[in-house]
């Protein structure tokens, strides 16, 4: 019954509006052209311009300030601090232009609304003005570009010597990570060697591959350069760690890389969030029943559309202190030692070495 009443009400409303419209449009025919220009509507529109300007500005400032706790993402890498700075500098510069031009746009619209006896000012050209507003934006932009360019060339420069190397491999729809093992050398890979078990296509004819290990979670040492070597098995993916300000596509057939310095351990970040005074992190997570900061984790996501499960490609990253990292690293079992069948893929002359490097216990070995 209620639905019926609502529908009937809506229909009535539409009919009423249509009727009003028709009456109005019939009355409109009577008006002269000049009346139409100096109409009430013209004034109302001009006033609405100012209302919009003031309303929108108020909303913009209110939201930007009131909700900054939510949209400001914590940063946890050295270069991230630099790019964040650049972002905020750009925000201030463009923000000023944004506000000024909009004030002019709506103020002019309001102030110079049609008046019956007024005449517009014939003002077709002013070369000086044109030059000013060509040159000034050019200078401002050059400033922004140069700071951006400097940051960009530092970020994309070669990774420093001794950077921790981790291979990140994207596939539909998960990430895998491979560590080089004790020799700190990632073994070769070949996409033709991929099978159900050896899902990364590790090439066991390369002796560097024997001690490589594939953990379920990425561990990284704090305050040390880390280089991600990135590749994809099937389609494009993109490595994205929002808190590290890190993004790089994973391309089949074309390995890419990105290096960075994580500068906050996961534990430290949790503590910082707890003390940040940001109420968002004190909210209770309904899934765990604990405040959100307690379960904060660095997450690796995919940002290049890759198919059905694009939105669910997640891997966790844990940044730890150097000592803890070393300990974890030493505990990891090589992939070969947990998949001994693949010893058969090792060339005969390297088998002995493989057994030793992979850390396979000798009594198990025939």
């Amino acid at each position: 019954m209620l639905t019926f009443a609502i529908i009937a009400g809506l229909v009535l409303l539409v009919v009423l509006l249509l009727l009003l419209f028709r009456i109005n449009s019939l009355a409109d025919v009577m008006k002269t052209e000049a009346q139409r220009r100096a109409s009430t509507s013209n004034r109302v529109n001009a006033i609405l311009m100012m209302v919009f300007l003031i309303g929108a500005c108020a909303l913009f400032f209110w939201y930007s300030i009131a909700r900054q706790n939510e949209y400001k993402l914590p940063v946890a890498s050295d270069h991230g601090i630099v790019t964040d700075n650049l972002f905020w500098i750009s925000t201030v510069v463009t923000g000023i232009v944004f506000i000024i031009t909009h004030i002019l746009l709506f103020w002019f619209s309001y102030k110079y609304q049609y008046k019956k006896n007024a005449k517009a000012h014939y003002y077709p050209e002013n070369n000086k003005l044109e030059i000013y507003w060509t040159v000034i934006p050019a200078i401002v932009l050059t400033g922004l570009v140069f700071s951006g360019w400097k940051a960009w060339s530092d970020i994309t420069d070669k990774a420093p010597e001794g950077a921790e190397v981790v291979e990140i491999v994207g596939q539909q729809f998960q990430w895998s990570a491979r560590y080089p093992g004790k020799d700190k050398q990632l073994g070769a890979f070949d996409f033709r060697k991929i099978d159900d078990e050896n899902s990364l296509g590790i090439d066991f004819s390369d002796k560097s591959s024997f001690d490589d290990f594939i953990p379920r979670k990425i561990y990284l040492p704090v305050n040390r350069p880390v280089e991600f070597k990135i590749r994809a098995k099937d389609v494009l993916h993109s490595v994205y760690v929002p808190h590290f300000r890190l993004k790089m596509d994973a391309v089949p057939g074309m390995p890419t890389r990105f290096w960075f310095v994580p500068n906050k351990t996961t534990a430290q970040m949790r503590e910082d969030l707890n003390n940040s005074g940001n109420p968002v992190w004190q909210e209770i997570d309904p899934n765990t029943g604990e405040p959100k900061w307690k379960n904060f984790n660095y997450e690796l996501a995919c940002t290049e559309i890759c198919g059905r499960g694009h939105f669910s490609m997640k891997m966790l990253i844990e940044v730890v202190e150097e000592a803890e990292y070393k300990e974890w690293y030493a505990q990891q079992k090589s992939w070969l030692s947990t998949h001994e069948d693949y010893l058969s893929k090792v060339p005969a002359d390297l088998k002995e070495l493989a057994v030793i490097s992979a850390g396979i216990e000798s009594d198990k070995n025939n």
């Binding site: 419209f21 449009s25 025919v29 220009r37 529109n45 001009a46 939201y63 930007s64 939510e70 949209y71 993402l73 790019t83 650049l86 972002f87 750009s90 925000t91 463009t94 031009t101 746009l105 002019f108 619209s109 110079y112 609304q113 049609y114 005449k119 014939y122 003002y123 050209e125 002013n126 044109e130 507003w133 060509t134 934006p137 050019a138 932009l141 050059t142 360019w149 940051a151 060339s153 996409f191 991929i194 990135i230 098995k233 099937d234 389609v235 929002p242 890190l246 790089m248 089949p252 057939g253 968002v280 904060f296 940002t303 559309i305 198919g307 059905r308 694009h310 939105f311 669910s312 997640k314």
Partner: protein, 620 residues
């Protein structure tokens, strides 16, 4: 100017004045009818494309909502739990992008207004080739039919994003949409490219060769400049998309490896080696970036004309406006790789493209300042067209400024493929172009149909749309700064993206209201075609040539001789003149009271001009 050609052209073309229904309305060679065909088709696609966005906004804003009621429309794409299928979500996003960019804002906008206004504003009887013009529409129609059919495939339409990056789009195993849907997408796009090229070649030729007496390039309305340069951009960039698509067709169907290399999918390693996935991105964005300007330039041209007319002032800095259009045209071809900063492209190339990209911001800034100065000390009449033009300027500023973030490769690392990008291009390219298109419809409706659209409904439509568009797209900046990636079906998998459920809901609600308010426009449009108040000959008291034609111009546009042009199109509120506008057809000799000193010198030449000897201008 090129009148001999015009006469010439009449001989072998206009021998079919009165035809039957088919030749008059369906397979018409008249540019005005073809323009309307483009307009109607564009509006149809805008509703389809907009409707799709509402569907995926429902998913994003109300992820827990039961959508079983959509089952009659979407069938099995609604899962048993009453949700949109994740793969269909991607299909919706992809088709929304494709339809809006190509069918609505390229064909619907350029196709409509270039066709309608070029001959009318330059003083030509029709396009250089009416037949090619007709073909252009029907290829577009065919392309649309194919794209439409692809929506109903059991495996769904193309779903790899409107940029269709291979390998995802090349491998049928990678997703359902890369099967039949992708094939149809490619076929449709090939027809679309043919259509665009046929149209574009015609526009360029018509502007160069068929201008009336006295219509030098320096006297062209800015609309024509914009359409002309848009067509030039299209002519240079669409062949490249054709190459890219052709190679993709070969990769998909004939086992070649242009874009494919080292791939293991669906349990087997593919034989392809030596291809480069990046090659496609380069080719695609070589079209893709100019395409952005193909979309926005016509709108900028339209608003230049409307703002000048309704401010009752000459457009400020005509030459700077033309210069910035030219600058944008040229620069649009050297900035494409700013879409590819984090694709693994050589970082040195990245820095070069960062510099080039920020250069292109300068002509855009000049345009904005010139618009503002045109409004300054004007006598502004707020017609719906004027309101939408002011809206465009606002959107162009808002969206343009965020481009400065994204063009900076260091900042782009974080913002690339997040909602910040979505906000940026929806405001600057999507909404701004859309506003230009709507403004154009309101402004030239009297010329198209001989009747006026209702102003009051236009005002309501404008304010709902303007506020709505900001409420939809502005919040996306915050979501993007918070790092939310685009093309995500749901954000619940990540703690980092778990906030902003309220804002997403708000955006979706705003989107539904904004989309709904477009039907006010549709109603106004259709109602006014039949029942609108009859238009006067020059309802906006405008200077350009189209207002010298009869109320409803017939084939050939002017019943008698084509009028001669004596002045530029922006003599509004000239000091000394009685009226606040002087049409282009009024010679300087008739307006001694308002002539500027150098214009008095031109009076002698006008007589020469009338005798048919054309006056050369400082324009070339």
């Amino acid at each position: 100017m090129a009148d001999e050609n015009n006469a010439h052209h009449d001989e072998h073309h206009d021998d079919h004045h009165e035809g039957n229904f088919f030749t008059k309305y369906i397979f018409s060679l008249d540019h005005k009818v073809i323009a309307k065909q483009f307009l109607f088709t564009g509006m149809f696609w805008a509703i389809i494309g907009g409707g799709m966005s509402i569907l995926f906004r429902l998913q994003l804003g109300f992820p827990d909502m039961n959508l079983d009621w959509l089952r009659p429309l979407l069938g099995d794409w609604i899962t048993t739990e009453g949700k949109i299928d994740p793969e269909f979500y991607l299909a919706l996003v992809t088709m929304h992008g494709t339809i809006m960019v190509f069918f609505v804002l390229t064909a619907g906008l350029s196709g409509t207004f270039s066709n309608f206004l070029i001959p009318l504003q330059i003083g030509a009887r029709d396009m250089a080739s009416g037949f090619m013009n007709m073909l252009s529409y029907w290829f577009f129609f065919l392309s649309g039919v194919i794209m439409f059919i692809s929506l109903f495939l059991s495996t769904g339409p193309a779903s790899g994003g409107w940029v269709i990056y291979p390998p995802l789009s090349a491998l049928p195993d990678a997703m359902l949409g890369s099967q039949g849907g992708m094939t149809l997408w490619l076929v449709a796009m090939v027809f679309f490219i043919v259509s665009s090229l046929l149209g574009g070649i015609n526009y360029v030729t018509t502007v160069i060769n068929l201008r009336t007496k006295g219509m030098s390039f320096a006297r062209l309305p800015l609309t024509i400049w914009a359409f002309f340069l848009t067509a030039v951009i299209g002519l240079l960039s669409f062949p490249v998309l054709f190459s890219a698509a052709l190679l993709l067709v070969f990769d998909r169907s004939f086992g070649t490896s242009f874009y494919l290399s080292d791939i293991y999918i669906a349990g087997e390693a593919l034989p392809n080696t030596g291809g480069s996935a990046l090659l496609f991105q380069h080719l695609f964005w070589f079209l893709g970036h100019p395409e952005v300007y193909i979309v926005i330039l016509p709108s900028l041209g339209i608003t230049s004309e409307i703002i000048s007319t309704n401010s009752r002032k000459p457009i400020f800095g005509y030459r700077a406006m033309v210069g910035s259009l030219l600058g944008i045209t040229i620069l649009s071809f050297v900035v494409w790789a700013h879409h590819m900063f984090v694709t693994g492209m050589n970082p040195f190339l990245g820095s070069i493209f960062m510099f080039l990209t920020l250069i292109i911001a300068v002509p855009s800034a000049v345009k904005v300042f010139n618009y503002l100065t045109t409004l300054w000390r004007g006598n502004i009449v707020f017609t719906p067209a004027m309101l939408f033009s002011i809206g465009l300027v606002s959107l162009f500023i808002s969206g343009g400024l965020t481009g400065i973030f994204l063009g900076n490769s260091a900042i782009d690392i974080q913002l690339h493929d997040t909602y910040f990008v979505v906000a940026h291009f929806h405001i600057v390219m999507g909404s701004a172009s859309f506003f230009g298109m709507v403004a154009g419809i309101y402004h030239w409706f009297p010329k198209m149909f001989g009747r006026m659209m209702d102003d009051k409904l236009g005002y309501v439509h404008f304010w709902l749309t303007f506020v709505g568009v900001y409420l939809v797209f502005f919040p996306m900046h915050y979501i993007g700064v918070a790092g939310f990636p685009r093309r995500y079906y749901s954000f619940t998998n990540f703690d980092a993206f778990s906030s902003f459920t309220d804002l997403n809901m708000f955006v979706s609600a705003a989107a539904i209201i904004t989309f709904g308010s477009q039907f006010i426009f549709v109603f106004n449009f259709i109602f006014s075609i039949f029942k609108g108040r009859k238009a006067t000959l020059n309802p906006w008291r405008s200077n350009t040539l189209e207002w010298t034609t009869p109320r409803v111009p017939g084939h050939g546009n002017w019943p008698g001789e084509i009028p001669t042009v004596y002045r530029w199109p922006y003599d509004y509120s000239k000091p000394g003149a009685e009226e606040d506008f002087i049409p282009q057809t009024v010679p300087y000799s008739e307006t001694p009271e308002s002539n500027l000193p150098h214009e008095n010198e031109l009076i002698d030449q006008e007589e020469v001009q009338q005798e048919g000897i054309t006056v050369d201008e400082a324009s070339e």
